[in-house]
Amino acid sequence: MNTTMTKINQSKLTKDLTSLEDGTSVQDTFRLANARNKALRGQRSRSNTWSWLVLGSSCAALAIIMLTPLSMETSPYVDTTLAINEPELFAAADQDEGLSFYYWLDVYDTYE
């Protein structure tokens, strides 16, 4: 094992491998420098966090949109008779007024 390793001209090998590294194209060098600057500024973590936030809120909104109509349509227990519309409200008010008249009459009769 050692005989194979010691026979190698390490400096020649390193020189060739370094040539390979030096031969990196200008475009690749530029892209690597760009990646390095982004890494140093920590841009990925922020964009990553934002993307997760956007994804999460989108999913939540979608879930709300999908569930809301279902809950409204499929709730058969809503008692529609309890819903008060405007004429009924006035009728009830009239009825109250009528009752107060009879209370007054009752009181009046008692003292008379």
């Binding site: 060739d16 590294e21 031969g23 194209s25 060098t29 690597l32 390095r36 982004k38 973590s45």
Partner: protein, 207 residues
């Protein structure tokens, strides 16, 4: 003697690496200088491992992000082994994802095999090469092409051991940390790599 054997039989700790003589003088002090000095080599190594230009670039980019994000506060001596450990892990992740993708999208696997965009840079166009004789440049180019092709054919662990030891010049201990194995395993992988590269390495033997 016994302590040395025991230490070789288990994965080294990063704290042990900082005290090695190899890491005494370092040509970088800041993270920017460190990344600037290592990025091209890491890119070429990733290219040899993945055979795909875009994947290699992504791997190096991810490695740099993680290095800055998690390990910038570590001592400078530990940066290089840490960087290569992250790089190797990213390459392993790439292989795993690739295997899953290949199993699901069979037609993409065929496409990938056809579109292997691995190519060596043309050294003749490099400014430093103009001082050399054309024959010498051509011979070196052919030698490097053969070596790179041989390295590409190696098993993953053997390739890692070969590149980290021969190219990056890491010590056995640093290589062991970067590969996440014992020093004994590094020696085995490295010698097997040299054995497999015997034909290509003939040109690097002393006459």
């Amino acid at each position: 003697m016994m302590a040395n054997l025991i230490s070789q039989s288990k994965e080294p700790e990063i704290s042990q690496i900082a005290s090695t003589p190899e890491s005494a003088t370092l040509p970088y002090e800041t993270m920017e200088e460190f990344l600037k000095g290592i990025e091209k080599r890491a890119f070429q190594m990733a290219k040899m491992s993945t055979s795909r230009y875009e994947d290699a670039l992504d791997i190096v980019q991810e490695t740099m992000f993680k290095m800055v994000e998690k390990y910038a506060s570590k001592p400078v001596q530990e940066w290089k082994p840490l960087f290569y450990r992250i790089l190797n892990n990213k390459i392993t992740d790439h292989y795993r994802r690739q295997a899953v993708r290949d199993n699901i999208f069979i037609w993409k696997r065929l496409d990938n095999e056809q579109n292997d965009d691995f190519s060596q840079p043309d050294l003749s166009s490099h400014p430093d090469r103009h001082s050399e004789e054309p024959d010498e440049v051509l011979m070196r180019q052919q030698r490097i092409d053969r070596l790179a092709e041989g390295v590409k054919q190696l098993a993953k662990r053997q390739r890692e051991a070969f590149l980290l030891r021969s190219w990056e010049g890491l010590s056995t201990r640093e290589t062991a940390y970067a590969m996440g194995c014992t020093e004994g395993s590094v020696k085995t992988h490295y010698s097997r790599a040299l054995e497999k590269l015997r034909d290509q390495m003939d040109e690097y033997h002393y006459d």
